[in-house]
Symmetry: C2
Subunit: 365 residues, 2 copies
């Protein structure tokens, strides 16, 4: 088991990473204020892992109430959130009750926001069961629901008491979602850690084969890098923007195709290739480095070209991104592997050329 201590906000909390941690109630018990927990999960993850998590806790005389939410981003809204509040109140959960979110990013975001607002805040433990949630939602304390007029518009910063990332749960994750998680992992290497990027090149096959040691290290290193970046900029003014490498292009792809067509990680991979191409055109990145990035994404099972939306449509979609400030498009680009920078000073013609170069040809596939 790997353990990483995250010190953000007022409290520090551990992220335990390893194979079979769902069956380790001893890791959870020290973080409970009373022996009562409310587990929130969904109707895909629940049938697979809820009992595995609960059996051990029950043996330790922990009273458990639980709720299965419908799976999917479409349900990340008030109506579903309110079902959590209904359950907490019906089951007479008090301020000392701990809420455990068992599932992917949607369950974590909603469970976390429910914990942040129930009786003005109760303790929260995250048990992420997707690779993306393990490397992304574990650090930063962001919780939210969507509003019809915008994603993640209503939420809170609420740090967990504990994150338990059981790599055994990845065995049931669809391959496409696993690859989407790898996109974020590769991103962390590109932003800050060339050595980690090189390690990923050597271990990408082991990761895809779910080799526990490799998985645990990749998750730990990713969480560590994210924690460093977030700690340097908790209020999201500067440094934290680096985490958006590939995201401005990627969001354009996701929105342009309609949400749900490409997974977020897939958009990030193709978007990162556009950012790399733009960096190359600015003379910041060599041909060989761009080729290494492309090769790693491909081996991770990710797309390395965006869909053929046409350059004008890309630019229009990017102009609507929420990261636009004072009308200026800001880009996260690479000044080398492991060295991301934020810049608002990019010639729009170069941006268009980079998109063009990294798109599937119109009419192509």
């Amino acid at each position: 088991m790997h353990t990483l201590k995250v010190a953000l906000g007022a409290r520090a909390y551990p992220i335990h990473i390893g194979h079979g941690l769902l069956e380790r109630p001893d890791l959870i018990l020290p973080h409970l204020r009373t022996r009562k927990v409310a587990v929130v999960t969904n109707d895909v993850v629940g049938p697979l892992y809820l009992e595995r998590l609960c059996a051990g806790l029950r043996r330790e005389k922990v009273e458990i109430v639980s709720l299965l939410l419908p799976d999917g981003e479409a349900h990340k809204e008030w109506g579903t959130l309110n079902r959590i509040f209904d359950m907490l109140l019906r089951e007479r959960c008090e301020r000392a009750t701990t809420l455990i979110a068992l599932g992917g990013g949607v369950v974590g975001d909603m469970g976390g926001f429910a914990a942040a607002s129930y009786q003005r805040g109760i303790a929260f433990i995250q048990v992420p069961t997707t690779l993306l949630a393990q490397v992304d939602s574990s650090v930063g304390g962001k919780t939210a629901i969507n509003h019809p007029l915008g994603k993640n518009m209503i939420g809170a910063f609420h740090q967990p008491r504990l994150v338990l990332a059981d790599t055994a749960t990845l065995a049931t994750l669809p391959a496409r979602e696993f690859s989407a998680g790898l996109a974020e992992i590769i991103k962390y290497g590109l932003i800050r850690d060339a050595g980690f990027f090189a390690w990923l090149e050597q271990h990408i096959d082991a990761l895809r084969a779910l080799e526990p040691g490799a998985l645990a290290w990749a998750i730990e290193r990713s969480c560590h890098l994210k924690a460093d970046i977030v700690a340097a900029d908790e209020t999201e003014q500067g440094e934290r923007a680096l985490l958006n490498l590939g995201h401005t292009f990627g969001h354009a792809i996701e929105t342009g195709l309609g949400y749900g067509q490409w997974l977020h990680g897939e958009g990030v991979a193709a978007g990162t290739m556009m950012a790399a191409e733009l960096s190359r055109r600015l003379g910041w990145l060599g041909d060989e480095e761009v080729a290494r990035i492309e090769r790693l994404f491909e081996r991770a099972g990710l797309p390395v070209r965006g869909p053929a939306l046409g350059v004008p449509r890309y630019l229009a979609l990017m102009a609507h991104d929420k990261k636009v400030e004072a009308g200026k498009l800001r880009f996260v680009l690479l000044r080398g592997l492991g060295r991301a920078v934020v810049t608002a000073d990019v010639d729009i013609a170069a941006v268009g050329a980079a998109i063009e170069a990294r798109c599937v040809a119109e009419g192509g596939t």
Copy 2:
């Protein structure tokens, strides 16, 4: 103008108290991050005071969007809260926008929770227009909405950047609501400050005549006392319970009659008389002190006897109070004027006798 600095949580903020402060945009401007504010008010307060607040801000080139919510506790729920989010999104309010809540406790609670959760937290200014909100909601950072299964069950701690208590707005407050606010003011004196209690005895008529100097001092002193108590116990474990003087009895009255029959402050006044009577029976308070409390409540226009619900019903209602811990009723009692204490060690027969002594006789009025 009186100014009180409250240092709770990470930030300190000022409470300005005085006559005509709505027309002082200079007090608001230093607290805005950008010149855009969203004002949330209700359909009673809005027509009276919204323009008075906005005119000055508009002269200072502040862009204002506003929303009138329906008045009343019944609307303190998700559907109404969501109308605030709709407005904020429709009007493209950003993280740097400041939300101003103009109104009583309901508007403050909902506006505060909206500010706490919109984009995970935006700045919040409170402009309370009821005496109760000026002395109670101004300090403590509590925001919330109700849930069908419980009051104030969903919310956040979110400190304002500024509180502007304009005593001129009290001119339009119904007399009964003004008296209910006085109940809380008297409560602060009883809990912690015998000198303030004596001052109130001398100035109760000036307060009811809305004499600005007296009002400003009563509000400042109340906020000060509340801030002291809250600061000593931000997480509500011990000291803060003192603020519930009269509330265990008072909630029984409110619930027993059906919510909305008695105002909260009215229940607190009659409930405080029961607590005083119980304290007297324990030998903690003299006859003369009890008489002084009764006299002050009467002069403030408040009830000093509870309704004739019968002792068994009172006790049953009190047993359901959320302040019950491990099955033990906890009481806030008085060991003298200005000296409240929490105790769980009270003989139930004495409690019944105190209620009996402080109820309207059955069949009486």
